[in-house]
């Protein structure tokens, strides 16, 4: 995992995984379809990415498919020209 992938993975583990949930989060672990992040919580994940990567993610791009794994999230950030991680 590169630095940004680790940052996203660690944030997901810290914020969304319940303490008794022993699942390992890998690059391709399904986050939305796996029930770890729901569509409402996607908004706080989006905010986190925007802040850490100094970019704006248009609502149309913030889809369950784009947020379904660490890999797809980082691909989205790269595609949108995110700088991250910053700050």
């Amino acid at each position: 995992m590169n630095e940004l992938q680790k940052l996203v993975r660690d944030y997901v583990v810290r914020e969304y995984l319940e303490e008794g949930d022993t699942r390992e989060i890998g690059l391709d672990t399904p986050l939305i379809s796996g029930g770890i992040v729901d569509s409402f919580s996607m908004v706080s994940l989006k905010r986190f990415l925007e802040k850490k990567c100094a970019l704006q993610i248009p609502d149309a791009e913030a889809t369950p498919a784009a947020f379904d794994s660490v890999r797809t999230i980082v691909e989205l950030v790269d595609r949108l020209g995110g700088k991250g991680p910053v700050g």
């Binding site: 303490e19 008794g20 409402f40 905010r47 802040k51 369950p64």
Partner: protein, 567 residues
């Protein structure tokens, strides 16, 4: 005394009598939903028919027949009564993802005479504690991933004696914690379920209002008459159907139509324990040849975003009936579903308190896209003038949507709060809290809420709960939570926050407050937007005027401001 008015004669003649006959029940006889949904069907020869086709996000699948359902609910009921030491009338909470034990546990609790309290497993610490405390819950059935939240709540809940963990494995359990491995347990062939009176409390679902903490809507076993009949007449369920209701049983749709309605009719249900993904959902519909699908506008609008083309890649030819609930179904979604699935989603209207569908677009009825439909036969609905409390007769004039309280699935009270339930009545009508109009053809049209409750993705969220939790954050001096329009969820929570001296607005603080609310309450209650403001609009008596903030968000007139305090 409950303001619900039911006459014995209603179950001898008329539409509810038809449902009573179908369920082989007569007035004066016991009625138990747990028995109705399992043992009775086996007695009718349906024992080998699939009852539950279950699959999780990893593709693990299990298949249970109605005989499995009967025996496994017997096994769990015997365990709860004899080993967990639980008694009839005690509140037993199901705090589980959509695992098979949730479905078996629901019927098992009813069989042994307990009151089921299903709670959404994404609830955070405060939301969980508030509801368990109010209900005086005696036991929680959960899984290890949610055990941390239950343990923290239990520290402040003296009435909560027992926690049952359905997947404990090698996990070390503490005092009052029990492991239940249902699949490996010796099956109980015969269980003498409690012969409950039809008015015995069955299910306690919590629902939010404008003021105070959420209230426990107290359903009774007689509700099955409404749920079973509407499942057949509105959802069009028949013996050959494979049915999917994608609502979580933490909410009333997931129990009334995700457990009781279909199973009381002996219908095979498919359940997917996974989050939303369009392609995953289509694959599930295709794999199980789902024929009837009960969904929600939010999910439909998310599917719409991914386009018709994606839907057409899957063989969805088995689908023959689609229905929707939770919030008004916009005309675009009705038209899109015709393109994508060859048939429209038909809107249905009801709420936690009504227990079953009360207004609907029935199969075969002409659909007016965007309309709620017409009252279900046996339900009398009207729109009342807010000033007089009398029914409005002019077509198209908006007023308070009200129901005559004479149908079996209406709740009997709010738990330990009969005054709050009595306050929902006016001139012999039950007030839904929604506003609507009726057109010249008798179709009902949703206008909006009559209070400050936020309907987000079909779930009601109370502003008081959000504002109370917000105050726990060290930087927040005061706040107001209102509904903001949203293209997918109809409404989302927006919070206006006044910070304490020494705190400045910034992105980090916004994210921190959002995540705090999500953890304490739930993802639904997390504000999707926070506006930091120097002050909030208030009345001269100091009450926050949420309607002013809401009107700003919706671009509507703010109305009378004569009582507003000047800056």
């Amino acid at each position: 005394m409950s303001p619900v008015l039911l006459e014995k004669d209603q179950f001898v003649h008329g539409i509810w009598a038809e449902s009573a006959r179908d369920l082989e029940w007569q007035p004066g006889r016991p009625l138990n939903i747990g028995w109705q949904c399992s043992d009775r069907l086996c007695r009718l020869g349906l024992g080998e028919k699939p009852a539950l086709l279950w699959e999780d996000h990893q593709g693990n699948a299990r298949r249970y027949t109605f005989d499995d359902l009967r025996v496994l609910t017997n096994t769990m009921a015997a365990y709860l009564r004899d080993e967990a030491g639980l008694h009839p009338g005690e509140r037993i909470c199901l705090f589980l993802d959509r695992v098979p034990e949730l479905y078996f546990g629901f019927l098992a609790i009813l069989k042994m005479g307990g009151i089921v309290q299903p709670l959404f497993s994404a609830f955070g610490d405060d939301s969980l504690w508030t509801r368990l405390d109010n209900a005086g819950t005696a036991a929680v059935i959960t899984q290890r991933k949610h055990l941390g939240k239950v343990r923290r709540a239990r520290e402040r809940l003296p009435e909560l004696r027992t926690v049952v963990v359905v997947d404990a494995g090698d996990l070390a359990l503490g005092p009052g914690e029990l492991a239940l491995d249902l699949e490996r347990r010796e099956r109980v062939e015969r269980f003498a379920g409690l012969a409950t009176d039809p008015e015995t409390p069955s299910v306690l679902h919590y629902t939010s209002g404008t003021t105070g903490q959420p209230k426990g809507a107290q359903h009774v076993h007689l509700s099955v008459l409404g749920q079973a009949l509407t499942a057949r007449r509105v959802l069009d369920l028949g013996p050959d159907d494979v049915y999917w209701c994608n609502a979580d049983p933490g909410w009333v749709t997931g129990t009334s139509y995700g457990i009781i309605g279909p199973w009381a009719n002996g219908v095979t249900q498919a359940v997917l324990d996974a989050g939303f993904q369009s392609d995953r959902w289509y694959a599930f519909l295709e794999k199980y040849r789902v024929t009837v699908w009960y969904s929600a506008p939010t999910a439909i609008r998310l599917l719409m975003r991914d386009g018709t083309e994606l839907a057409r890649r899957y063989d969805l030819s088995a689908l023959r009936h689609l229905a929707s609930v939770g919030e008004p179904l916009n005309p675009e979604a009705v038209i899109w579903s015709r393109e994508a699935f060859g048939r429209p989603f038909l809107d249905t209207y009801w709420q936690t308190e009504t227990g079953a569908i009360v207004i609907a677009n029935l199969p075969g009825m002409e659909v007016k896209p965007g309309s709620m439909g017409k009252p279900f036969p046996g339900v009398t609905a009207a729109v009342l003038d807010a000033r007089t409390g009398e029914p409005v007769t002019a077509p198209g004039r908006a007023g308070l949507l009200a129901l005559r309280p004479d149908f079996p699935s209406l709740i009997r009270s709010y738990w330990r709060n009969p005054d709050a339930f009595a306050a929902k009545f006016r001139n012999g009508w039950y007030l839904t809290g929604d506003r609507a109009s009726i057109d010249a053809d008798g179709y009902f049209w949703f206008v909006g809420r009559d209070d400050d409750v936020i309907n987000t993705g079909g779930h009601l969220v109370g502003p008081f709960e959000i504002e109370s939790a917000m105050l726990e954050h060290p930087a927040v001096a005061e706040s107001a939570a209102v509904a903001k329009p949203d293209a997918v969820n109809m409404e989302v929570v927006k919070a206006f926050v006044v910070l304490k001296p020494g705190h400045a607005p910034n992105d980090d603080l916004e994210l921190e407050i959002m995540n705090t609310l999500r953890r304490r309450l739930s993802p639904l209650a997390m504000p999707q937007e926070i506006a930091f403001v120097p002050s909030l609009p208030k009345t001269r008596s100091g009450k926050i005027m949420r309607r002013v903030l809401r009107a700003q968000e919706w671009g509507e007139p703010v109305g009378d401001l004569s009582t507003m305090m000047e800056e």
